[in-house]
């Protein structure tokens, strides 16, 4: 990195509306060398700049197995994300990263994988899910459990159907409150555990979503015999620099932007400040 806090320019290639307030952008580094040299792991994130509006962290939602262009899925909720949502294909943003530790993909080889996501927690898992599908033979059974508040809050709706068609993959989706055209499961994410068979001894579980969802899902997994080291989650804190300097993201002496955002539940339980 030539300058730790200096963003590089990237162009928006495409945009896709996921929900009324969530949009996925595909981005390409403007500098060809930078594009070619950009390497990352699922679970890492980018600092994305909207020039004149600052920068904020967003998970890399695409997989390194699918080329050097990257995707982010962004919920509109404030100053920067409002400004981002006014941009479209051809417009330029800034990117800095990748930041953070990411998932240990090699540790997942040979394991059955359980992905549990709530709401906007699916993007970081999608990066890992794509990665697993692109190296399918290296991993065992895949179970994907996903929930959102209402049917219209589900992201990646088309992909969920594609994923289900893959061999040895189970996808279960639920919504807190039903809506027009929904004939699937209704209830919070943990209800999905009653709809699948999980083998705690052979599995790793990845859990992403709002803190309250993570709490209940983790409790359930532990009750079903998962070891705390085998339940992996991402933590969120207010972040500014993303590179361990500004102190916004600290929990005790741990820096979520450097030591995290990916931790296993044992590490999370041992964290204190």
């Amino acid at each position: 990195m030539p300058n730790l806090l200096l963003p590089s320019v990237a162009t928006i290639l495409t945009q896709r509306d996921e929900t009324p307030d969530v949009r996925t952008y595909a981005l390409r580094f403007r500098d060809p060398d930078e594009r070619a040299g950009f390497a990352f792991t699922p679970g890492q994130f980018l600092e994305l700049s909207v020039f004149g509006f600052g920068e904020a962290p967003f998970c890399l939602a695409s997989s390194p197995t699918r080329g050097p262009d990257v995707e982010v899925t962004v919920r509109r909720c404030g100053r920067l994300t409002d400004a981002l949502h006014t941009l479209g294909p051809g417009d330029e943003v800034g990117l800095r990263g990748p930041c953070g530790n990411g998932f240990d993909v090699d540790a997942a080889r040979g394991k059955d994988l359980v992905f549990v996501a709530g709401g906007i927690g699916l993007p970081p898992l999608r990066s890992l899910i794509w990665n697993v599908f692109d190296r399918r033979r290296e991993f065992g059974r895949v179970t994907i459990l996903y929930g959102a508040r209402t049917p219209s809050d589900l992201v990646y709706k088309d992909e969920l159907r594609d994923w289900e068609r893959q061999a040895d993959v189970t996808v279960r989706v639920t919504v807190d409150r039903t809506g027009p055209g929904w004939d699937g499961t209704v209830g919070m994410v943990p209800v999905l555990f009653d709809h699948v068979e999980l083998n705690a001894a052979t599995s790793l579980a990845y859990v992403c979503g709002p803190p309250i969802m993570i709490k209940f899902v983790v409790q359930d997994l532990l009750k079903r015999g998962f070891a705390a080291e085998h339940v992996i989650s991402t933590l969120e804190r207010m972040m500014q620099c993303g590179v361990g300097k500004c102190n916004h993201c600290c929990v005790g002496h741990r820096y979520l932007c450097r030591d995290g955002p990916v931790f296993n539940v044992r590490e999370i339980t041992e964290m204190w400040e």
Binding site: L4, V9, F51, C77, C241, E273
Partner: protein
Amino acid sequence: MERSATRVIARSDVNEWLAHILHHRDVIAPTRSPGGDTMFAPITSPDDVLWDFENPLAPPKQFLLPQTEPLAHFRRIDGHMHVEPVAEQRERVLFNVRSCDASALAFLRETYARDLADDVVERRAASLTVVTLACSVPCELGFCVCTDAGPFLRRDFDVQLTDLGDAFFVEVGTDKGRALVGLADALFQDAASDDQARRDASELAARAHFGGETCHFGSAMRRISTKRVADELWESMSAWCLDCGGCTHVCPTCYCFSVSDTPPADGCSTRCRLWDSCQYSAFTLEATGHNPRTAHGERMKRRFHHKASAQYFQRDGRVGCVGCGRCVKVCMGTTDMPTVIAAIRHGTWDGGRAHA
């Protein structure tokens, strides 16, 4: 010929040395502000430099980490965004810095170089030469003896001066310091053993004359690092903190920051790094509205965990306090470093000190 690392310069020659330095470098020194108080500021004449002064309330950290620091200009040219890093200025000398402040600058330099190095700060640190004036007469509120940051230094200076009355004892710590002395080499003599003895006596005398302020980090660190400070203690202490962030702003080692853009005008904007404070409630406020540190006591706990936990001490190799005493001076309540450290040691809080 290899030059000795210890030299002597006559008091009457110091201004000539400074004139040589001013000819080649920007010089920042404690000086009298138009309002009459002491501050670190660029000087234009050797006569502006103070030699007998109270350490300024604003530490020299602003010359390593500016309070508002432009990082890059964003310009839209022909429909495309250009990111232009802000170029750094010329070589600067920080003159007559106190030992505690020089230790703090070293702490900051190391912090920004560790792990992912912040090249902007590294370059600025490399272009700074630090000349310290050892504290032959310790300041009233300082407790640098408790933090290994003064009153005399063994490291962290480029040049250390000790006032011997008619002359200054000159210790050259680095190549940068050697270059500064080299600007007027003829003004310096090699130190004799008698000069060294007078310097050492001055250090001993300084230690003996220390102010009333002490700060026992060791036992407080043991408690902080092993979760043996009760939440109730933080809660009761926090009632005596006005949440103003003053301590973090005058602290020479505090370095929390935020990043922000100036509002765009004609497609142009400037990205700035700004001092922030972990003592402000919005410091950890997330976009969802969730805030993991809502209780005031939790923010205080954070500050002292960063300053005086074994976890951070292991990482940094230093306590995050140099004992300059500025928080004692600036706190409108009673929650300055020595008072809080004492409360942690004793496990009780009685409202803190009565400020003079």
